[in-house]
Point group: C2
Chain length 425, copies 2
């Protein structure tokens, strides 16, 4: 008998019919003899509707009240799901984040989980019930205020509960069949990845793959929770994210060098022109940017022109953070001593990810050759042990993903029925 | 500086515009220097929509899950209302039933309040904030399960909080101008009652007046909370329900004998034919009916026919309880020894209520004369110290209410703009 945590996103519980379908799947898992804990998001568009209501009332909703408002969504879906399961003759009880013991810090709207004390979930399981838990929400330690976990919050709830309960696996049900070697909307021949290590999945998530959020993967890696990403619309196995040294998650005999190609269209590039090439200037620049609250990604410093003693520094960041970074740099122009700023949000980032590249030389050469042959210019490069990222023009990004996917022999030879879309929270 | 508890029903917060209107009224009360606690129901049709969703999922929703589902409604309205008030520059914080310290028993769907420990509400008031509290909901003492209080639950929440906080008044805002001498839809000349005692209001509520629920008035009387029933659509004073010996609520010089005429169309009559007229039979009958869970109202036993030693016993009960009572009586026919049962749900009940009738003889004579003159037959009669109720044919009930209202000189001489409707929960 295993203990399974299942998480269903908003699209899997969009209406009464979907809820009944999901209930059937849960009841089957329970009848198969496993203990089942289910984490559920709000139904379909509920969250957007609640946000819309708030905006009708005030342009600046206080974050504490916004959290109370939004958590109504999971309260509705979790109780309906528990009812639907009970209707199939399987005992089910629903629990709010607070009742499930999800304790968070006090940062409304993007709270971090501090502790999970799922004693009531344990009791429900011991009584033979399926436990349904509201995703995305928790409660503060001292004031019992309701918090939300921000984007990807329900996935994080599921992984955190799986860790606290010592679950055998955390199944993340979504509207795609798993993690793919590239976005199938761009690369129709993309293949589903059977197994991927936490490290590779982290790089995929950080590089723009949307199927799992970064913090959820971080949490899973820290606590060694195997995560199975799969579709709620089919019975197929999806992608298992796990520790490659774990016997359960042992890599297949022929571990491919490259796991996949991720892409990201949400970044912008800022270039700071003619920065005096003296020690401390770069430090000052990134201190200013960090203080503004903007998140930096890639950084490139050109070789200094010997004649002027000045250099250009470029970096990328989420386009959403662009205006605050520009404002901060502008305010500090006298101290930094640059001549001008350039802002470019028509860039795209391609990332090639694979644990195998550590031990295989020539990966970057092959990447650059493929892009060069396709006439795609590389504007920036950054690497980690298991990732190479390049910045291209935004309008060349899709083509770049396709040629790289082919160059690394990731293309499927099968016809696959692929469903791919975004995930909810 | 006074401490005011205000309660707004679902029709007062039906959409974003209504919420903003109510927020303005609350902000004005706060700016006038009073401490303000607001109890709010779910928006307009939210509850019905949630019930509909549950019914799409299962015909028999478990009551614990139903309570979690329904309480999402107040969570939405309370947070939106807090946002709308904040938007007017007045600090506001919302609290769930649990956060407000509303402790109940464990009877899901119609829980009773055991205790109210509003320490967080106190703190919010001390910090200068308006406290918004979700009506209709509480939490069980030991398991922290969410409960709902059943019909009229939000009014009861408001009165219970007012009692626990020692509030100066509990204002119940609704879509009518107050308590009327009769339902203005039936008697267009009905007058708004300025002041009414707890006892009279209890009789009104028990006799079918829907503006305040019985248990809310019971709670107010027990703790001596003055209740002001008024419209959220106007600035007029409504009806003050209070202790007549309270100087604040002192009766006007000319206390009318009669407060009003209530009516009730929701009852049915069961007649048990040819019951042996021996001791213990009536006791047995009402023991059987009570054990079925049906609520009895009026009881009439005819004079025994000397020739047969048998009698008929009639009683009224909520029509909703009719089938369970019939089933119970049928099952016990051999023991009771009656010959047949008659069921009649085409009856109406008229009740005349007034503390003054205690000391004024002739009230019942005047009532019977008025009905007789109008050709209306009386089928059953019951009385208390401050109430006389009669059962008539259902299709004569409206006419009965009008002639009695006129006979006791309750008709208004003014033109009044009257808005009247049902209340939410």
């Amino acid at each position: 008998m295993a203990l399974i945590v299942q998480k269903y996103g908003g699209s899997s519980v969009a209406d009464a019919e979907s809820i009944k379908r999901v209930a059937k799947r849960i009841a089957e898992a329970k009848r198969a003899g496993d203990d089942v804990v289910v984490v559920v998001s709000a139904m379909g568009d509920t969250t957007d509707e609640l946000i819309d209501l708030a905006q009708q009332v005030t342009p600046l909703p206080p974050s504490r009240e916004m959290d109370i408002l939004l958590t109504a969504g999971e309260r509705i879906s979790m109780s309906l799901l528990a009812m639907a399961i009970s209707n199939l003759g399987v005992e089910a009880q629903s629990f709010t984040g607070q009742q499930a013991g999800v304790i968070t810090d006090e940062v409304h709207g993007k709270a971090r989980i501090i502790d999970v004390s799922p004693s009531r979930i344990r009791t429900a399981l011991d009584e033979g019930a399926v436990a349904i838990v509201a995703g995305f929400q928790g409660v503060t330690q001292h004031t019992n205020d309701v918090t939300t976990l921000g984007r990807g919050g329900s996935d994080t709830t599921a992984v955190a509960l799986a860790a606290a309960l010592g679950a055998d696996v955390c199944e993340i049900y979504t509207d795609v069949d798993g993690v793919f070697t590239a976005d199938p909307r761009i690369v129709p021949s993309a293949r589903k990845i059977e197994r991927i290590s936490y490290d590779e999945m982290l790089e995929m998530a950080a590089s723009g793959a949307k199927v799992l959020m970064l913090r959820c993967v971080e949490y899973a890696r820290r606590y060694g929770v195997p995560v199975h990403v799969r579709s709620s619309f089919s019975g197929h196995d999806g992608t298992l994210v796990c520790d490659p040294t774990d016997p359960e998650g042992a890599a297949p005999m022929e571990q491919p060098i490259i796991s996949g190609v991720a892409h990201d269209r949400s970044e912008a590039k800022i270039t700071i022109v003619d920065v005096p090439d003296v020690p401390g200037k770069a430090a000052k620049i990134f201190e200013v940017v960090a203080a503004s609250g903007a998140n930096l990604d890639m950084i490139v410093q050109n070789v200094s022109a010997a004649s002027t003693g000045r250099t250009d520094i470029s970096f990328t960041l989420p386009a959403d953070d662009g205006s605050i970074a520009i404002a901060a740099l502008t305010a500090h122009q006298p101290e930094i001593g640059y001549t001008s700023l350039q802002y470019d949000d028509t860039i795209g980032k391609l990332s090639l990810i694979g644990a195998g590249m550590k031990s295989h030389p020539g990966v970057s050469a092959r990447l650059f050759a493929a892009l060069s042959e396709a006439g795609i210019n590389i504007e920036m490069i950054s690497t980690s042990e298991i990732r190479i990222s390049v910045v291209t023009r935004a309008d060349q990004l899709d083509e770049a993903v396709r040629v790289v996917h082919t160059a690394f022999e990731l293309d499927s030879t099968d016809e696959q029925a692929v469903v791919y879309g975004g995930t909810g929270r």
